[in-house]
């Protein structure tokens, strides 16, 4: 999939903020994630089938809040009761979903072009998110997701990695928002990152 990305005109690849004499690994890395397939799945209220057996590309559908099922190419995010977001690099993801989620029991919608995705990675990634979101990040680990707000903008926060070692923990988050809010969210995130220094990649 190739498309004009939501942040194409504003995202800059360079060093910004308080980066002087800092190692690049200690800086925040901010980038736009493009060309992902985002599919929303909703299970109809009156459907009788059991969800335990439903698998999409060998991933079970998460049944509780905060949960994410993932492999190298695809992530299935719990987005509400009986509602999921499938975020994938695979071109045939829609076909895989349709094979397991039939029209009688599920509403499947391709919303790939209606979302902007910003990835923020680095030791202070959680500190940046704490500036604008009221979510409790203490228990927010790898493969956790939640819908929340960032300075009033509705976002979905997906923790894709939390590499911890003895010195630093480097967290990676994908932030999904409506495409039209993408630029505004990008400015909020980059403004909040200036004090730590960031590298646009």
């Amino acid at each position: 999939m190739t498309a004009i990305s939501p942040l194409q005109s504003i995202h800059k690849k360079s060093l910004f903020g308080d980066h002087h004499k800092k190692n690049e690994d200690d800086l925040l890395h901010i980038k736009e994630i493009k060309n992902l397939y985002i599919i929303q799945i909703v299970f109809y209220k009156n459907s009788q089938i059991k969800l335990d057996n439903i698998k999409i590309q060998n991933l079970e559908i998460p049944l509780h809040n905060l949960q994410v099922s993932s492999n190298a190419n695809t992530r299935i995010l719990w987005n509400g009761p009986n509602t999921w977001l499938v975020v994938s690099k695979k071109e045939d993801i829609m076909q895989s979903i349709k094979e397991t989620c039939d029209d009688e029991n599920f509403a499947v919608t391709d919303i790939s072009h209606s979302r902007a995705i910003i990835q923020i990675k680095g030791p202070q990634a959680k500190e940046v998110l704490k500036k604008g979101s009221p979510l409790n990040f203490n228990d927010f680990n790898k493969n956790t997701c939640a819908g929340s707000v960032f300075h009033g903008i509705n976002i979905v926060i997906d923790c894709i990695d939390d590499q911890s070692n003895t010195l630093l923990s480097t967290d990676s988050f994908n932030l999904l928002t409506l495409r039209s809010f993408g630029e505004s969210l990008y400015h909020h995130i980059t403004d909040a990152s200036l004090e730590f220094g960031y590298l646009g990649t």
């Binding site: 809040n65 509400g80 009761p81 009221p134 979510l135 819908g147 929340s148 707000v149 009033g152």
Partner: protein, 88 residues
């Protein structure tokens, strides 16, 4: 700032929610003949209790579900939150 326990997502900040009004208001039945007073009561008249109040809230920035909240209008303490198909 309130901390509201969404029945689906757990405790979240009030920022993520939207207030939806009195949870005890019932729309008159569709097939029933409705007087002007009954319609007025449904549309405009609300109790304004000092104490426990049943409310609707919407987790608009989270799971996007409506649910019921029993809250004190004096202290803002939230006693209970339940799903829409449950009783407070």
């Amino acid at each position: 700032m309130l901390e509201i326990k969404c029945p689906y997502c757990g405790k979240r900040s009030q920022n993520e929610f939207s207030y939806g009004g009195d949870a005890t208001v019932k729309r008159p039945d569709l097939e029933k003949e409705v007087s002007d007073k009954e319609w007025d009561d449904f549309l405009y008249y609300r109790k304004n209790p000092r104490g426990e109040h049943s409310e609707l809230w919407h987790h608009v920035a989270g799971c996007r579900q409506w649910f019921k909240v029993l809250r004190s209008t004096i202290t803002h303490e939230i006693f209970k939150t339940v799903k829409m198909n449950e009783e407070l």
